[in-house]
Amino acid sequence: MSETYMLPNPPGPNRAVDFDPAICNGCNSCAGICRSDVLMPNPEKGKTPIVLYPDECWYCGTCVLECRRPGAITLVHPLNQSVSVVWKRKATGEYFRLGMKRPPTPNARPPSS
């Protein structure tokens, strides 16, 4: 059981981006380019950056574009935004939602680039 600390409430959008510590090598490229300095280098070298100011994120996704290790960073929209992203499969009538527990198979087609 870990210690219980006295902390301020987590800010509105808790997270903005999420790091996968198994993929991220703590190179801080993302922290280097983040327009709002949402991300700060971790005091421990090689560890994932710290999301210090999630409330200042513009959700532009350039941290993900800058990252050279695919999957290390995932952009996480706040729930008051993602909850409205809903789609319906025409053939089956199924409803899907961004953030749902059992999402459909990912669409692997890359963007035109």
Binding site: V17, I50, N80, W87
Partner: protein, 666 residues
């Protein structure tokens, strides 16, 4: 283990600031051309000034590689009148735009953009940006020119608006700046412009800056300066928590504030628009048929398609007609230009009486955007090309939705269920806010045919200039302003820096490190400014309200502003932004007070002067801060075609564009 809270929950001590603290330490720099803001306009300005032979220094508050309102990508390239497939001349285009803006627009900016938007895109292609369908992904599509591989948008007949692969625009520009030897100073916020002389002879001689990570103080001397800051945000609408703004939240008007304090002349500051702020949805990530999604079929819950109509309200019979002008219509202008739709320029649209038809039960909610009803190449152009390259869509929408399983070939994207009145325009992701929530309009500095302001030594580009907007406008005007500033810097000796000015600025900028009374954080203060703007300068304005608003801003400046506090350089930057926002608010309220008439074009409603655009108020009414307070004057709409200028767009361009001595080095 990503957030600060999670880090501490892991039993780690509160981390110390990761960058060196250097509050008050001075760094002195000098250059020929200083570029204030390294977004799209600033990057093009820097590249062009450097090619013209100047030493160039870009000062950017963010990190130039991906910074600015256009820093997260672009999918439309507008105003490309000189591309080989265009059927609209720059003159015809500019005249249409100026007329449809009611005259309240900047002629030199619009014409420069119409002349050089395509050239700016060719510059980008030369740097490695993809602008043509060389791979033939869209071969055979109506919107593709088979010879050049260019792809067009909105108006497939007249072809002056393009679709481009611009997600990596900023890295491409950034690499070019490095290649050319442009000096780039990231993470420094310019806080003031340095000037010398008074009255008509006052000129801009450089700027002061604040390191946003370290707190260092910069004194920059420059022979010419280009104002290239983005449109101010956070003025009316600021949520202390959930932040979802269409524009870059770091653009808070420090360019306006610095130029205002230096005495630059502004127009259109009184204009503002409804803004849904935190009530907006993720841009382009919910069902809609706007801009990037233009032309997408919208269906109701039962699969019944909402009709598209032309300018006469006639229902269209085919999908192709959504992209061709109406009968008798010369050409259509796409979204994003900040030109109000007119009978002459409007694109095809969803039936505007959709709200009533929803209320009558004809269309059943929820609505859906059904891309699968489009031919494959049109569908791929919208979701694969444009959503894959537009600003804030490649990762936030394309990658996020496809990873979650969305497939445009077989899925319909839902339109949020909103108040029925919200379905009157196909931009369904914008949501609905409160009437007093406003967004910055077309306010910016007044410029001449050199894109120079009233202050010698100060040029401007992009959103810093009054009137026009859009990515391509920023690029083309930056390209032009860079050339003119480099020319203007030639033969000028490097000015000195006035110690009294820099000392005053240092005292102002570092005040939040020693707050008076009860310390106040920047968010609390920002929200207070927002409340004042909403209350006294909201949708409906009056002399009484505006005067009271100005008095209240003055009150804040004397009291709570002195209590603004900062615990680290980041918070200090935010606090200094707030101080600048007081200047911006004062300029906006002053301009609103000066225009004693309402204006449909400017979205400007005076309770005490309700007549819309009366003839005697059809002028630009610029304002500036004089030695004894704000000054305003009348300036005719066509100021740029009157003496000392030539009477035509073409002649002025030929005389001022700087191209008569041969094209600049590529």
């Amino acid at each position: 283990m990503s957030t600060w809270h999670e880090y501490l929950q892991g039993g780690k001590p509160v981390p110390t600031w990761p960058y060196p603290i250097r509050y008050g330490e001075e760094r002195e720099l000098e250059t020929d051309v200083l570029v204030f803001g390294g977004g799209i306009a600033g990057s093009h300005a820097a590249i062009s000034a450097r090619k013209a032979g100047a030493r160039v220094l870009v000062v950017e508050k963010e990190a130039t590689k991906w910074s600015g309102n256009g820093g997260a990508g672009v999918d439309h390239w507008l105003s490309a009148c000189t591309n080989p497939c265009s059927r609209v001349s720059p003159e015809e285009y500019t005249q249409r735009v100026l007329e449809d803006c009611g005259g309240y627009d900047c002629g030199p900016l619009r014409y420069v953009v119409a002349r050089e938007s395509w050239d700016a895109l060719l510059d980008c292609e030369g740097m490695g940006l993809r602008i043509r369908d060389e791979a033939g992904e869209f071969t055979g599509a109506e919107f593709r020119d088979e010879e050049t591989g260019l792809l067009f948008a909105y108006d497939y007949v007249n072809r002056c608006e393009l679709r481009v692969w611009g997600h990596n625009m900023k890295p491409v520009l950034h690499a070019e700046m490095r290649r050319l030897g442009v000096e780039v100073l990231d993470r420094v916020m310019i806080t003031s412009l340095l000037t010398e002389g008074e009255g008509e002879s006052r000129r801009v001689t450089g700027a002061t800056g604040l390191g946003t990570r370290t707190g260092e103080f910069y004194i920059i001397r420059a022979k010419a300066t280009i104002l290239a800051t983005g449109l101010p945000g956070r003025m009316w609408n600021f949520s202390t928590e959930y932040r979802s703004t269409f524009r870059d939240p770091n653009c808070t008007g420090e360019g306006v504030s610095a130029a205002w304090r230096a005495g630059a002349e502004f127009s259109r500051l009184e204009e503002s628009y409804p803004d849904s702020g935190t009530m907006a949805y993720i841009s382009y990530a919910v069902g809609n048929a706007h801009n990037t999604w233009h032309g997408c079929p919208i269906v109701d819950a039962n699969g019944k398609e909402v009709p598209w109509v032309d300018r006469d309200g006639r229902e269209l019979g085919s999908l192709e007609e959504r992209f061709t002008p109406a009968e008798g219509q010369r050409f259509m202008l796409g979204d994003g230009l900040r030109v109000p739709p007119s009978y002459e320029n409007q694109t095809k649209k969803l039936a505007p009486d959709l709200p009533e038809r929803i209320l009558s039960g004809e269309f059943v909610l929820p609505l859906y955007a059904d891309l699968s009803r489009m031919p494959e190449r049109e569908r791929r152009a919208i979701f694969g090309l444009m959503v894959g390259n537009e600003g804030r869509t490649r990762v936030p929408v394309y990658e996020t939705l496809t990873k979650a399983g969305f497939d445009p070939d077989q899925d319909m994207l839902q339109v949020p269920i909103m108040d029925p009145s919200s379905y009157g325009h196909s931009n369904f992701w914008s949501g609905v806010g409160a009437p007093q929530w406003r967004m910055w309009g077309g306010g910016g500095v007044v410029v001449d045919w050199d894109l120079r302001t009233n202050l010698p030594g100060l040029y401007a580009a992009g959103g810093a200039i009054f009137g026009a907007g859009a990515h391509s406008s920023a690029a083309a005007s930056g390209r032009y302003a860079g050339r003119r500033a480099a020319e203007g810097a030639r033969g000028v000796s490097l000015p000195g820096a006035d110690r009294a000015q820099t000392d005053r600025e240092k005292a102002r900028v570092y005040a939040p490190l020693k707050p008076e009374g009860r310390p106040m954080g920047w968010k609390d203060f920002n929200a207070g400014i927002g409340r004042l703007m909403q209350s006294y300068c909201g949708q409906y304005k009056s002399a009484g309200g505006l005067r009271e608003g100005l008095r209240m801003l003055g009150e804040l400046r004397e009291s709570e502003a002195a209590s603004l506090s900062a615990a680290n350089p980041h918070e200090l930057m935010r606090a200094v932004e707030c101080l600048g926002m007081l200047d911006v608010g004062e300029a906006v309220m002053t301009a609103s007070l000066e225009r004693r008439a309402s204006s449909d074009y400017l979205n400007f409603q005076r309770i005490d002067f309700p007549r819309m655009d009366p003839p005697e108020w059809r002028n630009l009414r610029p304002i500036k801060l004089g030695p004894s307070g704000p000054e305003s004057r009348d300036l005719p709409f066509d100021y740029f075609l009157r003496p000392p200028y030539a009477p035509s767009l073409k002649e002025n361009y030929a005389a001022h564009s700087g191209l008569e001595r041969g094209e600049v080095r590529r």
